[in-house]
Symmetry: C2
Subunit: 343 residues, 2 copies
DNA sequence: ATCGCATGATTAATCGTTTAATCATGCGAT
DNA sequence: ATCGCATGATTAAACGATTAATCATGCGAT
C-alpha cells in the first residue's frame, strides 16, 4: 500500500475505507511503526515540542511547575524542552533563542521578576500574576494573601509582620498586598524584605525575629515557605515556640511543609490547573497559527486567567498568646488536623 | 550559491575556499539564518536532543540535577527533553518510550530505586550509585557517608541514629553503609527507616526522636536534608536544642539548608561534574553510533564513575552534651562559620 | 599542446511525512 | 449504453539539510 494511504489512515484525514484503516492500524501496531517526528516536522513545520523557560531552575517551586507543565503537555501530545535562565536576564534571552532555534512550537515562560518577554517568533504563554499585563494565567496571589490574612485575623492576630524576599517581584508584591488589604483597617502590618537585608548583613543572616516578637508582633506571614521555614527555625531556636508564642505562615506548600514540626500553615497554588490552562491556550494558538509565518505576537490569552489559591491549615498558626488558654502554652501541641502533603 | 556549499561551509566538512566560507558566514549571520533542525534530523538521523528521565520530578533534588544536566547538555549543543516517572515504574517505562518516539539521541536516566533500565534503542547514561551495576557515573555516596561519620566521630559522638526513607534505594543504602563503616568498631549505630514507619503511623508522623535522645543517642545522621529538616524541627520543638543537646546532619545541601537555624551540616554532591561526565560519555556514544541502527546496548561508561562528595560544615552538628563546656549549653550558638549556599 | 590532477563549486539523490492532484472503479440515472 | 459522480486509492511534489558524485577550472609536467 502507499505511504499516503497510511498517513491518511492513521491521521483520519483523507478518504480511506474502514477496512483499510483497520488493516493499516493492525500492521502498524505489529511492526511497531511510529511516524518519524523529523519527517513530520519537516513537512508540517511543527515539532510537537514546547519550551519551558524558568527564571531559575534552582527555585524550590520549580518541581511543582515542571511536573504540572510536563503532565499537561504530554497529555496533549507535546514534549517539553527545558531552559534555565540561571536567574540572569541575558541568559534568559539566550535560552529562549536556543529553544526557538530548536523549532519549538510554543513557549511557556515564567518570567523573572516582571521581565517583559521580548517578542519571539512563536506563541507564548506567560505565567506570572493576574495583575501583570501580558499574563496568560496565574494563581490569584492577591486572593491567597487575603486568605492567609483572614485566617490570622480570625485567630486573633492584630500585629503581623510580612516577610518577603524582594519587592520587585510581581508575585511577592501581590501576595503582600493581599495580606495588607485585609489588615488595612486599624490593624498593623509591616514588611521585612530579606534581600536588601542580606545585602548588608550577609547571606543567611538572622532576621531578628525575637526582637519583633518583643515589639508585639504575634504572627509572621511569609511570602514563601522558604522564608517561613527560615522564620520558624529562627524563632524555635530563640525559644519562642510556634505556634504558642508566635504564628508563622507560608506560601506554596513546598515539599517540606507537611513534615516539619510544627507543620506549616500555607497557601498553595493549583499548579495542575494553571498548567492545564496555560498549555491548552498555547496549544490552541499553535493549532491556529501558520507555522511558516514568523509573526511576532502578544502572549496568548485564556478564558480563565486567575486560579484561586487554597489555604492549607496545619499547625504553625494559632491564636496569639494573650488569647490562649493558659495551659496550652505548656502543652506540646502535636495534634494533627491536616497531615499529608497534597500532590 | 548552492545549498550544498553553504552546508559544507558552515560545517567545515567538504572542500570550500576560505573566502567562500567567510562570505557565507557573513550572509548567514546577516540573514539570521539558522539551519532547520527538522531537515537535519531527517537526513542525519540525529535530533540533537537528549531525554532526561527522573524518578520523581517532585523530588527536591531535582532542581540541582536538571540544572546541571541542562547546562552540560546545552554547552555541548544538545537540548534537554524532560520526562517524569511520577514515582511509578510503569510510568517510567512509558516516559522513556515517549522520549524514544520523539527521536532523542540519547537518555540520561536517574533510575527509581534500583530499577534496572530496560534496553532502549539508544545510548543511555545512568546516574545512580557507584556500587550499582550499569551505573555510568554518580556521587560517591558511601564516601560521603564516611565523611559525615568521621566528622561526627571527631566531634565526640559515640551513639548515632541513621535516619533514612527506604532501604530499597541504592543511594540511601550506600550513604548509610558509609556511615556505619566508620562507626563499626565498637561504637553504636542504629537505623530508622521513615517509610515503613509512616505506613503504620501515617504521613508526617512524629519520629519519636526525644525518646532516642533519652536512650543516649547524641547525633542524628539523616540520609537527606529533607529528613534532617524534619528531625531538626522535631527536636527543637521538643525543647532539645540543636546542636547543644543533639547534632543533626543531612545530605545534598538542599536549598534551605544554609538559611535555617541552625544551618545544616551536610554532604553535597558535585552535580556539575557528575552531569558533565554523564553528558560527555553520552555524547561520545552518540557520535560513535550509527543513528539508523537500532542496536540495543548497555549503559555507556565513563572513565571516572565516582565523584567525591563534599562535606559542608555548618552549625547543626557540634560536640555531644557530655563533652561540652558547661556554659555553651546555655549560650545561643549563633556564630557563623559557613554562611552562604554553594551553587 | 595535451594530459593529468588537484581544487573548488554544483547537481542530484536521499531522509519520511503530508497533501493536493490525479487516477481507477463501480453504481445510478438518463 | 453512456455519462456523471461519488468513493477509494495512488502519484507526485514539497519541506530543508546532508553527502556522494559530478562538473568546471587552472596549473604543472611531459
Amino acid at each position: 500500500m502507499s505511504a499516503a494511504t497510511v498517513s491518511n489512515a492513521l491521521s483520519g484525514k483523507g478518504r480511506v475505507s474502514a477496512e483499510m484503516v483497520e488493516k493499516i492500524r493492525a500492521t502498524a501496531a505489529e511492526l511497531g511503526y511510529v511516524p518519524s517526528q523529523a519527517g513530520r516536522a519537516l513537512r508540517t513545520g511543527r515539532t510537537g515540542v514546547i519550551g519551558l523557560v524558568l527564571p531559575d531552575i534552582a527555585n524550590p517551586l520549580f518541581p511543582q511547575i515542571a511536573q504540572a507543565i510536563e503532565l499537561a503537555a504530554s497529555s496533549s501530545g507535546y514534549g517539553v524542552l527545558i531552559a534555565d535562565s540561571r536567574g540572569d536576564v541575558s541568559t534568559q534571552t539566550k535560552a529562549i533563542e536556543r529553544l526557538i532555534d530548536r523549532d519549538v512550537d510554543g513557549l511557556v515562560i515564567v518570567p523573572r521578576r516582571g521581565t517583559r518577554v521580548a517578542d519571539v517568533g512563536c506563541p507564548v504563554a506567560v505565567i506570572d500574576t493576574p495583575s501583570t499585563p501580558g499574563n496568560t494565567v496565574a494563581a490569584d496571589h492577591w486572593g491567597g494573601g487575603q486568605q492567609i490574612a483572614e485566617h490570622l485575623k480570625a485567630l486573633g492576630h492584630r500585629r503581623v509582620l510580612i516577610i518577603g524576599n524582594n519587592p520587585a517581584s510581581n508575585v511577592q508584591n501581590d501576595r503582600a498586598g493581599g495580606i495588607r488589604s485585609v489588615f488595612g483597617q486599624g490593624l498593623h502590618t509591616d514588611t521585612l524584605w530579606i534581600e536588601p537585608l542580606e545585602k548588608v548583613s550577609g547571606k543567611g543572616c538572622p532576621l531578628g525575629l525575637a526582637g519583633k516578637v518583643a515589639e508585639g508582633y504575634t504572627a509572621f506571614a511569609c511570602i514563601s515557605d522558604l522564608h517561613a521555614l527560615r522564620a520558624l527555625t529562627e524563632l524555635q531556636r530563640a525559644g519562642i515556640n510556634v505556634p504558642e508564642k508566635a504564628s508563622v505562615t507560608g506560601f506554596d506548600d513546598l515539599i517540606w511543609s507537611p513534615v516539619i514540626t510544627p507543620a506549616l500553615t500555607t497557601a498553595r497554588m493549583d499548579m495542575t490547573e494553571i498548567a492545564a490552562i496555560a498549555v491548552a491556550a498555547l496549544v490552541k494558538a499553535i493549532r491556529e497559527r501558520d507555522p511558516f509565518d514568523p509573526e511576532i505576537g502578544a502572549p496568548v490569552t485564556a478564558e480563565k486567567s486567575k486560579v484561586p489559591m487554597h489555604l492549607v491549615v496545619r499547625q504553625s498558626a494559632a491564636a496569639p498568646p494573650a488569647l490562649q488558654p493558659v495551659h496550652t502554652t505548656a502543652t506540646a501541641a502535636t495534634s494533627v488536623t491536616e497531615g499529608g502533603h497534597q500532590s
